[in-house]
């Protein structure tokens, strides 16, 4: 049955809605070995050939962030972050709605489970707050200008640039920290 569920990860939105409709029933099946499931989701959402829709990306990432990642070890969370979430986090003109949807999922997960899962993912630390602040500043400036044409702050190239820079710097900081920790061992060889 587990392999049948894994096969459905690549299916349509309607099938994914059914698959993720009862998290408490599906979770025990996936928890026995979450790695193949995360690999399948990664393939399903990043596949260049099929160009998965935003609804498909949202279905997979919501289940992962809100249900699976809060109950798996942190190394599995980091694996899911790198292979499933990270590719969608930076904003661009054609993909800003997807990036916004993924950040909303990350925020919801961090709020619903503040001590586990994505909330403990160091690379994401402070990123949602940076985004919210940029959004707030942009919207308040739009209000001052009485500009009612603005639908989303993240549509704006300057907001995208600032958020991307802040997120990338935050994550680069993590990697620099990793290198610092590893360097002495590397040099000792």
């Amino acid at each position: 049955m587990r392999s049948a569920f894994l096969a459905r990860v690549h299916d349509s939105v309607a099938v994914l809605k059914a698959l993720y409709s009862e998290p408490s029933v599906l979770l025990p099946v996936l928890l026995s070995d979450p790695a193949p499931y995360i690999k399948a989701v990664s393939e399903a959402v990043i596949a260049k050939s099929s160009q998965p829709s935003r609804a498909i990306i949202r279905a997979h990432l919501s289940f992962l962030a809100l249900h699976l990642l809060p109950v798996v070890p942190q190394d599995v969370v980091e694996d899911a972050f790198s292979h499933v979430f990270f590719p969608f986090l930076l904003f661009s003109k054609p993909k800003f709605r997807t990036a916004q949807a993924v950040w909303e999922i990350v925020e919801a997960a961090q709020k619903s489970a503040p001590d586990v899962g994505l909330a403990r993912c160091e690379s994401l630390e402070g990123c949602v707050e940076v985004m919210k602040e940029e959004e707030r500043l942009f919207l308040s400036r739009a209000m001052t200008r009485k500009d009612e044409s603005v639908t989303s702050a993240f549509e704006n190239a300057e907001v995208m640039r600032k958020v991307n820079l802040a997120v990338a710097s935050r994550m680069a900081g993590e990697y620099l920290f990793d290198i610092k920790v590893r360097l002495p061992t590397e040099w000792a060889r």
Binding site: S3, A4, F5, A7, R8, A18, S21, L26, V29
Partner: protein, 48 residues
Amino acid sequence: MVVASMDVNGETRAAAVQGMLRTLRESVAPDPETLVGTLGRVPHKYLR
């Protein structure tokens, strides 16, 4: 139950997935008939 490699439409596959989930849910839920049966085997003195 075999659902992999289904060459059917999405609605049928969604129904099949729901069927699998239902089977799983029922397989872990306590069976009321078994509970009645267990009570039936409780020694008579505890039922007074």
